[in-house]
């Protein structure tokens, strides 16, 4: 076949250029470690890399959300432990105060200690996280949630809490509102409270009672009136008698599905009240106890009944704190679980990204040496062939 001299030269140059361009591409891949220099190298792969990178970044964000929340929940858990300890101490003091042998000044000493505990409880309820946000303020975390004015403590926070996203499909509450933790604790035994009439002259006390059949309970305020030390009638708030009977100490008085026990000797005309329970705050529980212990006019029967109710409410508060603590613990566990699965998902995604994007060094190095060899061969053969010409032999 006829080959033109100019064609031979151009072809040789073009082939060497093309080999040099291949070497350049391989060299670039080796030096950047990146197989994809642009989307044109692998359009679907690049889209996948972008998507995976975005997912990894989102996953890291969720982890960081979780770790911030974890720190806040630890603080909340500590606050709840503190509050539980306060209530435990208050319980011990209440039991100690429920002793008819104590003088009123001794009861006042106890109430001073309770005053201290109330301060501690308010301070636990107003605890802040690392950003200075109030743990129990709900969404209005910049405002101090509990304000004490005299003996009463009011909740100024919001009724709802923020959510925090800890994984692509999990949003959990960032905390608990002070309202649900400290304010809405069921009073008395949870269904009703009992009280000794203020003007009773007898020595009888009433216990906190129990619910026998909750379906028969009609919420109302009932008055148990002793017409004489052995006969009583129970009337509701409308004055209608719902029950009556004879009484021997200690005697059970049961009506409308509940039962309560009166102990001691009531005087004629003594009254006891059984009222539907609302909610009480942990603070008012303590401050009511403080007021009771500070009041020298109360009979030991009245004190005993008050303390009995208070002990129930303290137990209610402790159990409420425990429930919240359990929920906090569950959330901490959820964060840990989300963190672990995020970690392994990220490892997998990073591996996928690197499989698509990263250069296979062994293959690329082998390719580079093959390409180098080809270029070297092209150069050497060109150099030797280009010298050949018939003109060299014509003398």
């Amino acid at each position: 076949m006829r080959i033109s001299t100019i064609g031979f030269q151009t072809d040789a140059a073009q082939q060497m250029q093309s080999l040099e361009s291949d070497i350049n591409t391989t060299q670039q891949q080796l030096s950047t470690g990146n197989k994809l220099q642009s989307a044109a190298d692998d359009p679907a792969g690049m889209a996948q890399v972008n998507q995976l990178d975005a997912q990894i970044s989102a996953s890291q964000q969720y982890q960081s959300n979780g770790s911030v929340l974890n720190a806040n929940l630890q603080i909340e858990e500590q606050s709840l432990t503190d509050a539980t300890n306060v209530m435990q101490s208050a319980r011990d003091l209440a039991v100690q105060a429920n002793n008819p042998a104590l003088t009123s000044s001794q009861r006042q000493d106890i109430s001073t200690q309770l005053q201290q505990l109330l301060q501690q409880l308010v301070s636990s309820a107003n605890s802040t996280d690392s950003n200075g946000n109030y743990v129990f303020a709900g969404q209005t975390s910049g405002t101090q949630p509990f304000a004490q004015s005299g003996g009463s403590v009011a909740y100024n926070g919001s009724a709802s809490v923020n959510q925090v996203q800890i994984s692509s499909n999990q949003r959990i509450s960032s905390g608990d509102t002070g309202g649900s933790v400290f304010m809405n604790i069921p009073a008395g035994n949870g269904t009703f409270t009992t009280a000794v009439g203020a003007s009773n002259s007898g020595s009888a006390t009433i216990d906190t009672g129990t619910v026998v059949n909750s379906t028969q309970w009609v919420p109302d305020t009932y008055t148990i009136t002793f017409s004489d030390p052995t006969d009583y009638t129970v009337t509701n708030s409308a004055g209608t008698t719902v029950s009556s009977g004879t009484f021997t100490s200690p005697g059970t008085i049961a009506f409308n599905g509940i039962s309560t026990t009166v102990t001691g000797t009531p005087a004629t005309g003594d009254t006891f009240t059984v009222a539907a329970a609302g909610t009480a705050s942990a603070f008012s529980t303590l401050s009511n106890l403080i007021t009771t212990l500070n009041d020298p006019t109360l009979s030991s029967a009245q004190i005993a009944t008050q303390v009995g109710n208070t002990l129930q409410q303290i137990d209610g508060a402790i159990s409420n704190f425990g429930e919240v603590q359990a929920s906090v613990g569950a959330r901490i566990n959820a964060i840990t679980a989300a963190n672990t699965s995020a970690q392994s998902a990220q490892t997998n995604m990073t591996a996928s990204v690197s499989a698509i994007q990263n250069v296979d060094y062994a293959a690329a190095t082998t390719r580079l040496s093959t390409e180098e060899l080809a270029l070297q061969a092209a150069q050497e053969s060109y150099a030797s062939i280009a010298k050949l010409s018939l003109f060299n032999y014509i003398q």
Binding site: M1, R2, I3, S4, T5, I6, G7, T10, D11, Q14, L36, Q37, S38, A39, A40, D41, D42, P43, A44, M46, A47, V49, N50, Q51, D53, A54, S57, A58, Q61, Y62, S64, N65, V68, L69, N131, N133, A137, G138, Q139, T140, S141, G142, S158, A159, S160, N162, Q163, V164, Q165, R171, S174, Q357, S389, L390, F391, I394
Partner: protein, 633 residues
């Protein structure tokens, strides 16, 4: 003797010419487009005598060039394809490189903006996190604007190249016409003007780099050149002028028009018919890569802006006010045709994000009716409404209002997203302007005795003037309720939507008579992050293309779309380069000079010349012998 002399002299002269042709071939060994020539020998007609016909030497009848019209045509067409794909791939690769970087790419920016909202949600009142959201929004805006401006400058670059390509084509066409004139003059003299033919072939090869051409040889040796759908560029000695003219809708874009032969000052727009060559590649990359990329980028910008702005309005800032728009975005571009004669005004605005497309449309007045035509899918679009301000045309997520009177045939180009990205800006300056909280809160009254619970209220119409006014829902019985104590008594269905004042909620459980619920401004709850999650959810939802594609999905497919176009153009360019190389090889192998061949020819003609010279010497000796014999006789 005289015969011998005459015959030898004819050989001397012939081989001298042949050596001349050989030396010309050797001299042109590196001349591009040179076709190797060879002297054609023929015996001189002999003299007839009674004893036979005696030859009287050799004659050079002509000099022919080694040339194949077929091979030259193959080389030209592969050259056109290669130039076209090469121009396409070069521009597409610059767009591809711009979009490709995974660490600074659009998807990464969108994710990091969403991440900044997550961080803010962890602590909505923390000013540092709010500032981080704004700076992340600014980074996103800068990057989208940067893309738009790079695409616009790529477009300007393409326009510049279109304009210079048109000039080159005109110069080459003029040269071809000149050479045509000379060729036809010389052809009429009898012998083919080889060097002029080579020169013209070379000019046509150059022309085919710019645009795909067809040729037809005329009987006088001149060659007619056609481009597009057979529009004449060169006819004999006349070249028509190609011009880059402003597009009728967009004066910054060039169309290509060709002067019509015969009719003075008449031109025909052949933009759509131009294929091949760098001009064809440039026109294709503009309409297939640059413009669609701008539109897609615009769609994503509109998506981000409309999701965020809508949610801003549906939430409250830390000062208790409804949020202001976070992002500005370029408006719908409506461009009247330069050919319009009527006085109609067309304005368009976006009404639905999910119905919005990345296509461009033309709105044309036809016999009193307005017709919308999708330029990308080449389909007519049915519009709702009548185009008045009260009842605008609706189509493709747009509402279009036409005022004034148009003449028949007047048209407008409607580009829903083309300039959106260039106008993508952050409007807010202070972190306190971010509406992180929900606008309204729903709550049950504290004294309720029933078990009814109310769900969180969501905003359905942020523009409702009574949105933030407290509204009560009071149950007169377990099954009936009234809104604000004045409205009609409504029947309660657990879980059914209750809507008023621009919000919607639902109540479930069993409310008791006298129970009440309120929906009121959430202004007191300045640490609320509910609206931030609504923003995050909005950004990750499938909001585009009829609710099928998310923002990151659109951004990823933009990258892979441009990547695939670039990849294809690069692959085609390489393939066509190989085809072109082999076509060029074929031409070179036929028409190129081979020095070894010339060396052999040189020896051959040299030896023949020497032999003829010897024959003259023989003839001279014969002559001398005869003269001496006579003298001695």
């Amino acid at each position: 003797m005289v015969d011998v002399l005459r015959t030898s002299v004819s050989g001397l002269l012939a081989f001298q010419k042949a050596l001349g042709v050989t030396s010309n071939n050797v001299a042109n060994v590196s001349t591009p487009g040179y076709s190797v020539e060879s002297a054609q020998f023929a015996p001189q007609p002999g003299e007839s005598t009674s004893i036979g016909n005696f030859g009287i030497g050799v004659l050079v009848t002509g000099v022919t060039r080694s040339y194949s019209e077929l091979l030259a045509g193959q080389m030209r067409s592969s050259q056109s394809s290669y130039s076209s794909f090469n121009a396409y791939a070069t521009t597409a690769a610059s767009v591809d490189n711009m979009l490709s970087d995974p660490s600074t790419g659009l998807t990464a920016q969108l994710q990091s903006f969403s991440n900044s909202l997550q961080t803010l949600a962890n602590s909505p009142t923390l000013a540092a996190s709010g500032t981080a959201v704004l700076s992340s929004a600014q980074t996103l805006a800068t990057s989208i604007q940067g893309y738009a401006s790079q695409l616009n400058s790529a477009e300007q670059n393409v326009e510049g190249q279109i304009s210079s390509n048109v000039q080159e084509i005109n110069t080459l066409a003029g040269n071809i016409a000149n050479v045509n004139t000379q060729i036809s003059e010389q052809t009429n003299l009898g012998q083919p003007p080889n060097s002029l033919l080579d020169q013209r072939d070379q000019l046509i090869n150059q022309l085919s780099q710019y645009v795909s051409v067809n040729t037809a040889t005329q009987s006088d040796g001149s060659l007619d050149v056609f481009i597009g759908n057979g529009q004449s560029l060169v006819s004999g000695g006349t070249a028509q002028t190609l011009s880059a003219i402003p597009d009728q809708y967009n004066p910054t874009q060039f169309d290509v028009s060709l002067a019509t032969a015969g009719t003075a000052a008449a031109t025909v727009n052949i933009t759509g018919a131009i294929t091949g060559g760098s001009l064809g590649g440039l026109l294709a990359v503009r309409s297939q890569v640059i413009d669609p990329t701008l539109n897609s980028l615009g769609q994503i910008s509109v998506g981000v802006a409309s999701i965020m702005n809508q949610q801003q309005a549906a939430g409250l800032t830390q000062t208790g006010a409804q949020g202001q728009p976070l992002f500005a975005v370029g408006a719908v571009q409506v461009s009247p045709s330069a050919n319009n004669t009527g006085a109609a005004q067309v304005t368009a605005m976006r009404t639905s994000l999910s119905a919005l497309t990345t296509d461009d449309y033309t709105l044309t007045s036809n016999a009193g009716n307005w017709q919308l035509y999708d330029q990308t899918t080449h389909q007519s679009i049915v519009m709702g409404g009548d185009g008045s301000a009260g009842n605008p045309f609706t189509a493709a997520g747009l509402s279009i209002v036409v005022s004034g009177t148009a003449n028949d045939g007047d048209s407008y180009l409607v580009q829903p997203t083309a300039t959106a990205a260039a106008g993508f800006n952050v409007l807010l300056t202070s972190p306190t302007q971010i509406a992180s909280g929900a606008a309204v809160q729903a709550a049950a009254a504290p004294g309720n005795t029933g078990s009814g619970t109310i769900a969180a209220a969501t905003v359905t119409d942020p523009t409702d003037p009574n949105l933030l006014t407290a509204t009560s829902i009071v149950f007169s019985s377990a099954t009936q309720y009234q809104i604000d104590g004045t409205g009609p008594t409504l029947t309660y269905t657990p879980g059914a939507a209750i809507t008023a004042d621009g919000w919607t909620t639902s109540i479930s459980g069993t409310p008791a008579a006298g129970d009440s619920f309120t929906v009121s401004s959430n202004a007191g709850n300045i640490g609320d992050n509910t609206n931030l999650f609504a923003m995050i959810d909005g950004l990750s939802a499938n909001a585009l293309n009829g609710g099928t594609v998310s923002l990151t999905g659109a951004s990823n497919s933009l990258v892979s779309q441009v990547g695939a176009q670039t990849q294809q153009a690069q692959a085609n360019s390489q393939a066509q380069q190989a085809v072109n190389t082999s076509a060029t090889d074929a031409v070179n192998n036929l028409s190129g000079v081979n020095l070894d061949e010339e060396a052999a020819n040189m020896l051959k003609f040299q030896q023949a010349y020497q032999a003829c010279a010897q024959m003259i010497q023989v003839s001279s000796q014969m002559f001398t012998t005869l003269i001496t014999a006579i003298a001695n006789g």
